[in-house]
Symmetry: C2
Subunit: 225 residues, 2 copies
């Protein structure tokens, strides 16, 4: 297999999830930064839905769509132990929380914050809409309260073992943290959990990220924050 190529942009949380998975599985991926929001015709031809991640595995195989990419990586690159549990109950709980994270948390919170604080920088006359940011932050509080509650009773998000659900949530949180949007002091269980994840070698790929003209939050790359 030639080296896979990931079309992504730095703060896209789902691309970050794919990067985390590949790093965890020891698969070296070439990263190609693409301003997906510009909806260039060349890119739309590759992915009519116009979003990242897109994974080129080889000339014959291009994967588009979050689940397509994520579960391909899980099934084809996944070593033991795998991130998707093998028992039906663990699988279901993992998928429930992956869904929650990739759809609800992303749709209620992360995409607005990324749009307002990051993408709008690239658009003519784009300035963040504070009312949108305020709504996203209120939604974030609700989501974090739930995750904090789960993590008060479980070592990892979906149970006793680390799963894809942990990586999915950590990827979203890493984007929010970069943009100084994580109210760490209010969610100690989430903070403790994130600290454990952050110190995994796979996480280094994200912690080295830098967006030109937009420094990360002060403790973004600190393992002890």
């Amino acid at each position: 297999m030639s080296q896979p190529k990931l079309l992504h942009y730095t703060l896209d949380p789902t691309s970050r999830l794919v990067r985390l998975m590949c790093a965890e599985y020891g698969v070296d991926v070439e990263l190609v930064h693409i301003k997906a929001w510009r909806r260039e015709p060349d890119f739309l031809e590759v992915n009519p839905s116009g979003d990242v991640p897109v994974l080129h595995v080889d000339d014959q195989l291009t994967l588009v769509g979050a689940s397509a990419v994520i579960y391909f990586v899980e099934e084809q690159f996944g070593a033991q132990p795998v991130l998707l549990p093998t028992d039906p109950i663990g699988r279901a709980e993992t998928r429930r929380l992956v869904d929650w994270t990739l759809n609800k948390l992303a749709d209620d919170v992360t995409r607005y914050i990324v749009e307002e604080k990051y993408i709008k920088n690239d658009l003519p006359g784009g300035t963040p809409d504070t009312s949108v940011l305020r709504a996203a932050r209120a939604n974030l509080t609700e989501h974090l309260t739930y995750f904090n509650y789960l993590l008060a009773t479980r070592r990892w998000l979906a149970g006793d073992e680390m799963t894809l659900a942990d990586f999915a949530l950590a990827a979203q949180i890493s984007t929010l943290d970069y943009l100084s949007e994580m109210p760490w002091d209010t969610v100690p269980e989430v903070k403790d959990w994130y600290q454990r994840l952050k110190s995994r070698p796979a996480f280094r790929t994200l912690l080295l990220d830098r967006v030109v003209g937009m420094p990360a939050s002060a403790n973004y790359a600190d393992l002890d924050f």
Copy 2:
């Protein structure tokens, strides 16, 4: 295994997908109608995200979240031939289109139409917002154009074989069709494909649905429309 119990409401497209899958796999499911949008505390305790489908498999196992339910049904109830292809390329294309359908099509179109025309009937003073319906219909045209294009070159949505992607899209379309929102004459390839699916025995479960006080479109249950 005792008889599984599906919490759903009649026109919820994701619940319809689960019903189609169970019917295709010959699994008899008890249907329990629930007005999920009322967000009753008892139901939120079962599913904090407050949506259907929820599948009670037995006392030990309750599945919530679209992917959790769907892939559980696929993995545990699925006979040969399965709806998720075994080859990596077919799997990825199927997941791409399932994602598209369950997230984009549902979020751009179906949930608005269901909210305005169906759920609002249950809310005090709820009348459909015509500007929302207009926007949803415009989005629907774009989505259908893409699916019509795909189906002009493929027998089934994801390729040569019928997959979960076909069921996922058909479930959404069956809801739109019930509510007289399918512009059949403009998308002949989609119509031809839907006709093939509609004549499968699994589809009967949906075609018998009736919502009190809200008759289905004239040809909703016709196999030749």
